[in-house]
């Protein structure tokens, strides 16, 4: 499997990357870790005219906490995220997601930016990104804007990403200290992607009522989504087996389930309900 021909340029700065994209006349594509892009190139599903390599741009691997949010540089690899102490301390489920993304070799090269920007509905990060109101810092010819992950992907590999722009950072809301969090994944046995991946973060107030609840779901449908009906059903109530059961049953509401050789829409929906329930039990012990 061999990619078709393209031109390769390597950017030394964000500004240079943007102008290189402009020069490519709409035929340009950003190359970061390449672990989403190169497989598509090999099958000639994507045939860009120019690849703009951004991996030599300095400063895109930072991790910091700023105004109650965790900022992760777009080029941070899954392996680095899984081992980063600031991330583990502030959002352990993000580190867990990273440690379960791909396999050993993929985690060394795949980046969080590429993973999310690609708009692949079977990527792992969207679950936690949606749950924690993540935003993408998009720098382009029209300046810099923050784009919420929610609503960013429109369909498989189709996104709101503006032309001639690149994502340089991903920022996450840091949940309050009293919450518990998890990423629960049903791994597709062939691809290693999530058949369903559930990010769940929840906490209760001193009276035992749920005062923080976030559920992000990835893998099962064309677009990863935030399970708001589940959250709304739980918010303010005291957790019980019955309540969790009811809430989990809402996990696929409004979502259209996908299908492949491994699992039908019906089964995906069922598994989503089961995994949301299991994740809720884990964080609402």
């Amino acid at each position: 499997m061999i990619p078709s021909q393209f031109k390769y340029v390597s950017a030394q700065s964000i500004e240079e990357a943007i102008s290189m994209l402009q020069e490519a006349n709409g035929e340009g594509k950003i190359l970061a870790g390449g672990h989403s892009l190169v497989p598509l190139l090999k099958f000639r599903i994507t045939t860009p005219g120019t690849l703009v390599d951004i991996t030599r741009i300095p400063g895109l691997k930072e991790v910091r906490v700023e105004d109650g949010r965790l900022i992760v540089g777009a080029l941070k690899t899954h392996f680095e995220i899984s081992r980063n102490e600031t991330i583990i301390e502030n959002i352990p489920s993000l580190a867990k997601t990273a440690s379960e993304t791909g396999d050993l070799q993929v985690r060394n090269y795949g980046t969080i930016g590429g993973n999310i920007v690609h708009g692949d509905p079977v990527a792992d990060y969207p679950a936690i990104a949606l749950a924690l109101d993540a935003e993408l810092k998009v720098e382009g010819e029209d300046g810099t804007e923050m784009m919420p992950v929610d609503g960013f992907a429109l369909g498989p590999l189709i996104t709101m990403m503006p032309e001639n722009a690149l994502v340089t950072e991903v920022s996450f809301e840091i949940p309050p200290e009293h919450v518990a969090q998890t990423y629960l994944k049903y791994t597709h046995p062939a691809t290693g992607y999530p058949l369903v991946g559930v990010a769940a973060i929840a906490g209760t107030d001193s009276g035992g009522a749920i005062d923080y609840i976030r559920i992000g779901i990835t893998g099962v449908s064309d677009v990863s989504y935030r399970a708001r009906p589940v959250e709304e059903h739980l918010m303010g109530k005291k957790p019980s087996k019955a309540l969790i059961e009811e809430a989990a049953a809402l996990a696929t509401e409004g979502a259209e389930m996908g299908s492949d050789l491994f699992a039908s829409p019906e089964y995906r929906a069922h598994i989503t309900n089961v995994y949301v329930r299991r994740a809720l039990h884990e964080v609402l012990k």
Partner: protein
């Protein structure tokens, strides 16, 4: 000194392979090398209206583009090599490139030859083909239905062959106390060696020699068949196999691609290489299994099985593969009654043409399929009469006193002690405790299952007269030459073709024990039609049972010639010469001796030979065994089913296998382990999928689940050793046992777990969704 046979010797092959010094076919670079890429039909069945190759030909770096029409009359169709008498075979023509009609997704339509593989790949996209899509069919039972689309005019109902073995009447079944009817299908799987198929041909226009490197388990068969396909004589045709990354049956077959590459090399007078992509492997490498079996099993209430009657619809694909017709009829059909003493058995096989890739041998080739059928049915029978499945097996086994044992279809099993392997497996598993634990857990709403599978295999192909009787287009003896060099080291040649099995090591162990020379002084040559005289290759677990014994016999001849020479040089009677630990000595006179090294030199120099003895020390054997060998064993799988998701976890796996004498336990265990992974893989995860029209849906490892390390627990293994009487070493085949035993063990365990939920049967592979749906349905019913 302790014998080497039976020891855990580290492999000779490995230092090369672990340091990157292996040379696989794609590692071979030759000056002037060209690269081939093949355009394949995207349609299951289509008329080729026109092909425009001009754009591709004009592309810089492209040397040639061939279509089926270009090659018409220049390359013959690729034939099958197994035509069973009585099957009324209708063999259709498989041209190396389709001429008018493409008959499966992956059927070759054109081939580009270019200066680089990148260019070849680019140019393939530039060929424009106009197709007229024709109706098509993928499923073999559908293909036989009235009104099904007929793929070939000359093949009514798409039936390539029909073969009946044995006889069971309706009365045999109707009068039975218990009658089980079931469907036991083994789905199509892809052999998937990690190195895909490949070939590299080089033609010398001066000498007229053609050298073909090819991914093959049987280079001499490749030479023989391709010689016919290419009208090229065998004596000018040199076939070699480089280090090879696995085969598993997928590299037995002689394929169109290999003929094409050879032709192009001769036509262009430049070397040409072709390496299959993984996607192509799914399209156009022979698949395995794909048998749909309807079985009736008759028995008594107290557990005796009295008759078996099976109808096997075997999907053989769009064209007959090299061994395609033999697997369902002989390997499956004649092994219907397995390890059991059953009076009557009948198997009717329909070989069905469909618009899919050809089906050929895959690890076990017929035996895993028939074992799956029988062992699933035995457990269904046990459940029906409410008897422990261990007990049912014990009642029906052929007992060890009955060997050689003639099965219901007339095959004579060489040796066996089936109860012993069963007892050992039951003991190792702690079967009774497992049953109790199962009960306990069920009370807690947890579902574990215990599945058994007892098998016997026909392996170690075999006596050549039988090959003739069953229409196998070749011999199945094996040859070996042992060449002793003047310095006393030894090179051994054999016609088996290792590609991971470790023959270098295990065969050296055999030679070492006989000659008493250092193990390091023994070298093997395989996989080369110019170095090795005729041989039949590696498949059917025949390498050790036939090839290894040929090595043993040829080595014996060397020892005997050495003895004659030693007697001459020592001026003693031949009868008084002992040979031990590499020393010939006169019995009772330890001082009168010649070392093997001295004899090697003496024979090669030939200064003083006995009268009439030829110079040199080199002996050859052609060994044709008197019978196949029949390894056997019992496997037990323990699984837990998450009834909420249908997910299956293998908790334990216990295997007791008997492959006769074990030459190297570590190597043998490796064979069992790899075999189990493939069998359990078939039971739980793997499957080539076509839609009903024959569009391939599983074209990569993204869709086709290959088992990975974290799918398995540690396997608990043990061998019993029941020697085979049909060869000197007492060995049987070992490579296919793991696969043959494990499909049913895994499936039975799942069915055992789900029995209380009313689930009776689930089609393979047992994907979680299917399990979950069966539970929903079963649960609703109960």
């Amino acid at each position: 000194m302790e014998k080497m046979v039976g020891q855990r010797i580290k492999r000779k092959e490995d230092p090369k392979l672990i340091t990157g010094n292996g040379v696989y076919l794609d590692d071979i670079k030759i000056p002037g090398l060209l690269h081939a890429s093949i355009l394949r039909s995207p349609h299951p069945h289509a008329k080729i209206v026109s092909i425009d190759k001009e754009k591709a030909l004009a592309h810089p770096g492209v040397v040639a583009v061939y279509t089926g029409k270009d090659l018409e009359g220049k390359i013959n169709p690729v034939p099958t090599s197994w035509k069973v008498p009585g099957m009324n075979l209708i063999e259709t023509k498989q041209y190396p490139l389709a001429i008018d009609t493409a008959r499966y997704v992956g059927d070759g339509v054109a081939m580009v030859i270019a200066e680089s593989k990148y260019t070849a790949r680019d140019a393939v996209e530039m060929i424009e083909v106009e197709y007229e899509v024709l109706p098509s069919v993928a499923n073999q039972k559908e293909a036989r239905k009235e009104g099904a689309h007929q793929i070939y005019e000359e093949v009514p109902d798409n039936v390539a062959f029909k073969y009946v073995a044995g006889e069971v009447t309706d009365e045999d079944l109707e009068n039975a106390e218990v009658l089980i009817k079931g469907t036991y299908n083994t789905q199509r799987v892809a052999p998937s060696p990690m190195e895909t198929r490949n070939s590299l041909a080089q033609y010398n226009p001066g000498s007229g020699d053609l050298k073909l490197y090819v991914g093959s388990q049987n280079p001499h068969i490749h030479r023989m068949v391709l010689s016919e396909v290419l009208n090229f004589p065998e004596h000018k045709f040199h076939v070699k196999v480089a280090d090879m990354g696995g085969g598993f049956g997928g590299k037995i077959g002689v394929y169109p691609d290999e003929a094409l590459v050879s032709y192009a090399a001769m036509d262009l007078k430049r070397p040409v290489k072709w390496v299959e992509t993984r996607n192509e492997h799914f399209q156009s490498a022979n698949a395995g299994r794909d048998m749909m079996v309807d079985l009736e099993l008759a028995g008594t209430k107290d557990g005796k099985i009295t008759a078996l009657r099976a109808v096997n619809h075997a999907n053989i694909g769009a064209y007959l593969a090299t061994f395609g017709p033999g697997n369902p009829t002989i390997d499956f059909g004649l092994m219907l009654s397995g390890p059991y003493k059953i009076e009557k058995a009948q198997c009717t096989t329909y070989g069905m043409y469909t618009n899919t890739m050809s089906v050929d041998s895959y690890r076990g080739a017929g035996k895993p399929e028939v074992t799956f059928m029988l062992e699933r049915a035995v457990e269904d029978f046990a459940r029906k009469i409410n008897m422990d499945p261990v007990e049912v097996r014990r009642i029906n086994f052929a007992s060890k006193e009955e060997f050689p044992f003639t099965n219901a279809q007339g095959l004579i099993y060489d040796s066996g002690d089936y109860v012993k392997a069963l007892d050992k497996a039951v003991e190792n598993a702690g079967y009774q405790e497992l049953r109790e634990k199962q009960k306990e857990l069920r009370a807690q709403g947890r579902y574990i299952g215990i599945g058994l599978s007892s098998y016997v295999e026909l392996s170690g192909f075999g006596p050549s007269a039988v090959a003739g009787g069953i229409g196998f287009q070749g011999g199945i003896w094996e040859n070996s030459t042992v060449r002793v060099h003047p310095g006393g080291t030894v090179t051994v040649y054999t016609g088996t073709s290792p590609h991971g099995q470790g023959h270098d090591t295990t065969f050296s162990q055999i030679v070492k024990d006989k000659l008493g020379i250092p193990y390091e002084d023994i070298n093997f040559v395989f996989n080369d039609t110019r170095a090795v005289s005729m041989g039949w290759g590696t498949y059917g677990s025949r390498s050790l049972a036939v090839g290894g014994n040929a090595v043993a016999l040829a080595t014996d001849k060397v020892v005997e010639k050495g003895r004659l020479l030693a007697a001459h040089l020592l001026e003693a009677d031949v009868e008084s010469i002992d040979f031990s630990e590499g020393i010939y000595s006169v019995r009772g006179e330890a001082g009168r001796r010649k070392t093997f090294k001295e004899i090697a030199k003496a024979a090669n120099f030939a200064w003083n030979m006995p009268e009439g003895m030829e110079p040199g020390l080199e002996e050859k054997t052609f060994f044709d065994p008197s019978n196949f060998t029949y390894p056997f064993g019992t496997h037990i799988a323990v699984v837990e089913v998450d009834v909420e998701t249908g997910g299956i976890k293998i908790l334990r796996y216990i295997a007791v296998d008997d492959s006769g004498k074990i030459v190297n336990p570590t190597v043998a265990e490796g064979q069992i382990l790899g075999g189990i992974a493939q069998g359990v893989g078939q039971a739980l995860w793997e499957g080539v999928q076509y839609d009903e029209k024959g569009q391939l849906q599983s074209g990569s490892f993204m869709d086709y689940t290959m088992p990975k390390a974290n799918f398995f627990p540690k396997i608990e293994m043990e061998f019993t050793e029941t020697l085979s009487p049909v060869n000197q070493l007492g060995t049987k085949g070992v490579a296919e046992s793991g696969t043959t035993g494990s499909i049913a063990a895994a499936a039975n365990a799942v069915m055992d777990a789900l029995a209380p939920l009313g689930v009776i049967s689930i089609e393979l592979p047992l994907k979680p969704e299917k399990v979950w749906k069966a539970i929903q349905k079963g649960g609703a019913k109960s």
